[in-house]
Symmetry: C2
Subunit: 215 residues, 2 copies
Amino acid sequence: MSAVRVHNFAISLDGFATGEGQAPNAPFGHAGERLHEWMFTTRFWYEMGGGTGGTAGVDNAFATAHSRGIGAEIMGAGKFGPPDWQDDPDYKGAWGPNPPFHTPVFVLTHRPRPSIEMDGGTTFHFLDAPPAEALKRAREAADGLDVRLGGGATMIRDFLVEGLVDHMHVVQVPILLGRGVRLWDGLESLEEAYDIESVSSPTGVVHLTFTAKGR
Amino acid sequence: MSAVRVHNFAISLDGFATGEGQAPNAPFGHAGERLHEWMFTTRFWYEMGGGTGGTAGVDNAFATAHSRGIGAEIMGAGKFGPPDWQDDPDYKGAWGPNPPFHTPVFVLTHRPRPSIEMDGGTTFHFLDAPPAEALKRAREAADGLDVRLGGGATMIRDFLVEGLVDHMHVVQVPILLGRGVRLWDGLESLEEAYDIESVSSPTGVVHLTFTAKGR
């Protein structure tokens, strides 16, 4: 069975995956880009932008796992676009004409619309479905490869609660956001289902991996 | 000026320093001893109990800093005893006849009582005072040495908010408690006042240190 994976999912020390006040020019609200600066210096990021250079240390080692062996992504509505993007029938997402997914992407929304084919192999599909059903659709599209859960925190929590996540990589950034959307709410005793490892990076972040026990 | 320090302060991955349901036989509520198991295997802990042995790795290196150069401790009422200990006029604390502090200890409570002298150099004093005033009293008693903030989370937050903490060592344990008392609430942008370092231990915990900038 293809695995369900989370990669490069950044949270603050106080557990927020996004700040308050999400808007078209502030997709992470008052967090700005601070949760993702650790990634911007990696070779993974440079090469994704078509450039060269970047660090090849532990941050990069984790970052590059993002795309390897992935056949589809599932994302929450908030990752596709700013609040109320559903009101614009022509909206094509916050990811530009050539989104960095290059696979089918299933966007969870209570207001589905027809699929949108983008450049570079990304096709956005829109689903109003609970986690297990969305996963079934994504697995079919992934054609034997793994399915990535793209976030945000709410959708990842929903999949965790249902025991659907095989591997999760969380990056803890040493800032305190104080407000926003927390990853960890409602996940008491999650450690019983996962082997948890952590490694600190010289850049200051801590990489946490969750590997489902017995899978 | 003597420094104000926090040591060996353990929290869960979701930020709880204690669980729910604190009681005489459950000082950390439903968390049990899980937040402190990392310490029980260290040489520091063995020797505190009068024994020998224990690990001498990174967990021990941090743990031993607890007592070095400390002349007084300030603790919250919840660390002195279970809920409503104030109702028992003869109560002498949850720490036995020879408490592991060996200095003056200032217990913050809205219902102060006369000081209690214990074996081993610990004297409990009881104060109904805001952080700065309690610190002034503790500094006088510390006689040039540093003051340790003993927790719980609520009193540490109160001192952090007032900018009174010079050094803080937090141990993040890879469990999710889901409920209890959070350390990080109301501390947005704390990183602006502190240099934050982290190091992961082979035992699975992550040691985080906060060093006040410019002090």
